[in-house]
């Protein structure tokens, strides 16, 4: 049997700290959070990849126009 995850709750008005098992709702929320993060991260990585590919493509086209690597670097930096 999987152990129920726990959280630490600090009541700042009293200083009391208690360890509380997550509710079914909170466990579901954790799963929703994990899925949402994975989706957002996948989008982010796809955007980064597209940006890197566009940069490489632009550099290739600039080189084809006769620009040296130093000139491309100066132009795109």
């Amino acid at each position: 049997m999987t152990e129920t995850p726990q959280k630490i709750v600090v009541d700042c008005s009293t200083g009391e700290q208690t360890i509380v098992p997550l509710t079914a709702e909170e466990i579901t929320q954790r799963e929703v959070d994990a899925t949402a993060y994975a989706e957002a991260e996948a989008i982010r990585q796809a955007e980064e990849t597209a940006k890197a590919e566009a940069k490489a493509s632009a550099n290739t086209k600039l080189a084809a126009l006769g620009l040296t690597a130093e000139e491309i670097s100066a132009f795109t930096a």
């Binding site: 200083g15 700290q17 982010r44």
Partner: protein, 178 residues
């Protein structure tokens, strides 16, 4: 300016999925949370911290970040999220043993009725090339005063992780940083 420690929490054996500060006193101007955190997630040294306030789980949080992972730098925006987070800058289970990330979160004007903002600065520790660093600006459309804060792990916070909550009270000149 007066800085007052409200509470410090240390995670015990077995870990904890989140650290929740509740009934936050509304006696300060700003909030500062300082961490020494390690996640039990196997996501490696590039793990993340989630922060939610007042138990709000709707898409009201936006993150603008600048990060590095030891070899690549990146920046961007995550809009309309259901929590604030650092995208990196946290030790995971494959980080060097017994090392913890250093992080701090600053939440200005937390008891105001204006939309909430915050900033985070976090760096992981890892005796290898891959070690995450991140700074981020956070915003939220929520205008309610912050009365509770949840510091949520991807899985569990490791034993000996700590979090300290401080209130910052502005001085008579009105500045909270002078």
């Amino acid at each position: 300016m007066t800085m007052t420690l409200v509470s410090t929490v240390t995670v015990g054996a077995g870990g904890a999925s989140s650290i929740d500060f509740t009934s936050i006193p509304q006696t300060g101007t700003d909030l500062l949370i300082m961490f020494s955190l390690r996640s039990l997630d196997n996501g490696g040294p590039r793990d993340y911290i989630k922060v939610r306030f007042n138990g709000i789980t709707t898409s009201t949080y936006t993150v603008r970040y600048l990060e590095g992972d030891g070899s690549v730098a990146a920046s961007g925006v995550f809009a309309n999220q259901s929590y604030w987070y650092t995208n990196t800058g946290l030790n995971g289970s494959t980080s060097t043993s017994n090392t913890f990330a250093n992080s701090q979160i600053y939440l200005p004007n937390y008891s105001s009725s204006n939309a909430k903002t915050g900033s985070v600065d976090s760096v992981s520790e890892n005796n290898a090339t891959q070690a995450g660093q991140t700074i981020a600006a956070w915003s939220s459309t929520t205008t309610a005063a912050i009365t509770s804060l949840s510091i949520i792990g991807n899985t569990n916070w490791a034993q000996y992780s700590t979090a300290s909550l401080y209130t910052i009270l502005k001085g008579s000149g009105g500045a909270s940083v002078s």
